[in-house]
Amino acid sequence: MVKETAPADWQIGKLYEKAWEIIKKNKVLWIFGAAIAGIGSSYSSSNFQSDDFKFFEKIFQQDSVPTNPGQLTQVLGATTDSSFGQILTQLTANIPSYFYFLLSIEVLAVVGVMLFFGILKSAWTTGGLISGTYLASEGKSVTIRDSSEKTFPHLRSLIWLQIVPSLVVFGGAVLAFGILTLVITLGPTPLKIIFGLLAVVGFIALLYILVFLFFSQIWAPRKVIIDQDPAKKALFSSYKIAKKKFWAMALLALVNSILGFIVVMVPLMLIGVIFALGFLGFRGNFNPVVILPLLPIIPVFIFGFLLLSGILTAFKATVWTLAYQKIRGKYDQDK
């Protein structure tokens, strides 16, 4: 007895064709795409990156507030023998210790505020792009105004999706692996073996969670914007879809990544090759003045690159939105 296979919910070629038609006609989507690409976050995954905290971490690298200039120069990585270290020693000679504490508080506050508005902007541009692609797929005109108005009521849900799942996974992983590491390092040998095995199982479980979180975060914002679901419900039903459509999603994500690589990396590599050839050609006779005529080209290049990244981001968002419309309501219901 031949088992009938259900037809695939989408064909990548047809998705790409329709997405390209939409992107060509609606340049507003390029702007949202460029805004997302410009803040360095992928629309399809959480924007709450540990990178956001790197600057903040550097400030708090030291355990105690430095109390003398010599200690301060070591704290800031400069040796007292260097000119920079000597000048720094002089400049910080009169600064009381509590100033550093106040500075830390202020930097913390500034970073916090910037992080908040960064997350808000990321949520709004993601929502705007999804709204825009949905409106375009329905044959309606896409404007910044309409996309923005469609996103505003769901901002809280979009922000929740950006922060909470990643925080929970990150927090849970840190706690779990922290305990495992402690026991493995300090515990008796039988416990070390057991917890070592648990660590392996935990690592596999973490990989599973991260992969499905990544895939769930593709559908969840679409469920929020298109189906107007609250954030938690959107995330859990997206997880159901991700479990059932895992391989189809993986293939689409892989094709999108390859496309992204070709579109973005090939021009960059070509430019790199040109520069390398130019440098090798000059070698010992290299004169920086030669670069001067090329300087005006740099902002044009950056603009072009940002625009290209924006178009690519918008294209990929449109592909996923079209894919979502094919499976809407099919896999996220409880049977």
Binding site: Q86, A93, N94, V113, W124, S148, L307
Partner: protein
């Protein structure tokens, strides 16, 4: 019949320039006073005080300045001196949430692609920038005050220039540069 019309790019640019000059004035004042230091430790202390008392707080203050003034008075000082008002699409006041969004996320959005969102005012029929479209706001010219705006811009620009120039002068011809050079000369080769 309303006498207001949407403000064009030049007027909005004038308003922004006035705001920048006003917000930059405390920075140039601090620079001037720090440049009067007679020793490197005094200079370092002054720099630190500038960071603590003005530079870092100004990042929050500029956001409060633009959001609260726009919400309460329909515009920042730059817009007020140029005779411009920010309203919603019906001519009423923007809500506080939309105003804050406009002045923060909205402005950031307009900065995408090298400030193309601000330049879009030139071609837009309603003279809306991208941040205006995002929240549904309009910038209307309510009084023809641009000559006053120009004078205020010139005054603040001159003040900023004087303080910075004097600061550079103090630094170049005062004791500080000599002390920097002394420290560098005293180092072993």
């Amino acid at each position: 019949m309303t006498k207001t019309s949407s403000a064009g790019f030049h007027l909005r640019l004038l308003a922004i320039l006035i705001d920048w000059m006003i917000l930059f004035l405390p920075h140039s004042l601090f620079w001037f006073f720090i440049s009067l230091s007679s020793s490197l430790p005094e200079f370092g202390f002054g720099l630190f005080v500038y960071l603590l008392v003005w530079f870092l707080p100004s990042l929050a203050l500029s956001f409060l300045y633009s959001s609260l003034l726009t919400y309460h008075f329909g515009g920042t000082l730059g817009k007020i001196f140029t005779g411009l008002t920010v309203t919603d699409e019906k001519g009423g006041r923007l809500t506080l949430k939309r105003t804050i969004f406009r002045q923060t996320v909205g402005y950031g959005f307009s900065f995408t692609l090298f400030g193309l969102g601000f330049l879009s005012v030139i071609k837009d029929p309603l003279k809306q920038a991208w941040h205006d479209k995002a929240v549904g706001s309009l910038v209307l010219k309510t009084i023809n005050l641009w000559p006053v705006g120009l004078i205020i811009l010139a005054v603040f620009a001159w003040l900023n220039f004087m303080f910075i120039w004097s600061g550079v002068d103090n630094f170049t011809y005062g004791p500080l540069l000599g002390q920097f050079s002394q420290v560098l000369k005293s180092l072993p080769n």
